[in-house]
């Protein structure tokens, strides 16, 4: 097994590994569809189904409004601080591929998603994955008809962000339960609860302007070199069913 692990990690085996990994995608898609059917079937008692649909619609609307609010906050900040640098093409002009989530990582150490689009659909490792609400993560591996996405909730994920209100810079770190952000100190600025964490583009890992979440439970100390806060991520990886792969952004 160790030999298999070492061999399958070689670059010349990447194609075969990707093909093998996307082999289960159709079965998983069927399972997800079945889960959805079972969910609908069990919701026929009373008005549960209609309430659930209404709840989903309101949730989607709420997420959309949250995104719009965050984008407005981001735009206001950019207008104030970086008016000339504002580039709408970055926010709205990306080429994308819509993919269905067909599976999730088998253990809690790698909070990943498996999607039903792969290299034959133009998806490549390193591409950014978003949802209607905001940033989801990054494509880690691809097969011909499937890919594995490392989500922001993965403990190994990092994303550089700025805060919409104070403009402070920080790094979002993945983790079980909730995301954490380490915020750099700047004289005269203190992070506050409710501020939006938005990708800053620093480091080139993610494009600027993608919503990550809002700050909750901020811990500030004048003696510390960084502040920390929990981030209420706009996405719930357990509930994501469709994601968008940004195909024209190349991380540096």
């Amino acid at each position: 097994m160790l030999a298999l692990a070492v061999l399958s990690q070689q670059s010349w085996a990447a194609g075969a590994r990707g093909t093998a990994k996307s082999a289960l995608a159709p079965l998983e898609a069927q399972m997800m569809a079945l889960a959805s059917t079972v969910g609908r079937a069990t919701a026929i008692f009373g008005d549960v189904a209609s309430l659930r649909a209404e709840n989903q619609r309101l949730n989607a609307e709420n997420q959309d409004l949250k995104r719009q609010l965050a984008e407005l906050n981001a735009a206001a900040y950019d207008n104030k601080e970086l008016r000339l640098a504002l580039d709408f093409q970055r926010s709205f002009g990306h080429r994308t591929v819509v993919a269905q989530v067909v599976g999730r990582g088998p253990d809690a150490f790698s909070l990943t998603l498996q999607i039903d689009r792969g290299s034959e659909d133009g998806v490549r490792s390193g591409m950014i994955v978003v949802s209607g609400a905001g940033l989801v993560g990054r494509v880690r591996e691809t097969g011909p008809h499937g890919a594995i996405v490392q989500t922001l909730a993965d403990p190994q994920s990092r994303a550089n962000v700025y805060l919409s209100g104070s403009g402070l810079q920080g790094t979002v770190i993945g983790g079980p339960g909730s995301l954490q952000v380490q915020i750099e100190h700047r004289l005269g600025a203190i992070p506050s609860k409710g501020e939006w964490a938005i990708t800053s583009g620093v480091g080139g890992g993610y494009p600027r302007g993608l919503v990550v979440g809002d700050l909750v439970n901020v811990t500030h100390s004048d003696a510390a070199t960084v502040d920390s806060a929990l981030v209420d991520w706009v996405n719930d990886p357990a509930a994501l069913s469709l994601v968008i792969v940004v195909t024209d952004f190349v991380p540096s």
């Binding site: 097994m1 590994r17 998983e28 399972m31 150490f109 790698s110 594995i148 079980p176």
Partner: protein, 166 residues
Amino acid sequence: MKVVAGLALMVAAALVQVTWASQLDIAGVFPNLVLIAVIGLAWTQGVRAGLLWACAGGILLDLNAPGPLGLHALALLAGVYATGFWARNLDRESPLHPAGAVALSTVLYSLLLVGADDALGLPIPPLRTAVQLTIAASLYNAALMPLALLALRRAAAGLHWEQAAT
């Protein structure tokens, strides 16, 4: 027949684990159904059967995980091996022992998974996070093990499988 039933169990456990199990998330972890099934098989059918199904189940999990193939299989093998010692020396009928065995196996499984990732140069979670996740997963899997074992014993009785000595 035994092979087909075992394979069906592994495929079903793996598919449910990577599709539905995340809905049962508690404290950042969800049940490792393949590990539970493999330890259950090792407990009821013997270590040799457990090792065989650990390879099959592990490869199925590897197909859904980032990184190289074989790591989950290797981690499951370690768990089954430890379970073999446990089952050989203690009362097989007690529901507490398999729960303890699966908790120990989860710890070994997690250690091996993180250790192998580290050895292969793949990114690993921070130590504190890894420890938290491992403890939570151990407790979760241990809580589910008696139920899984009961179901497995009933299925084995229905299929007229004999319990192996080791």
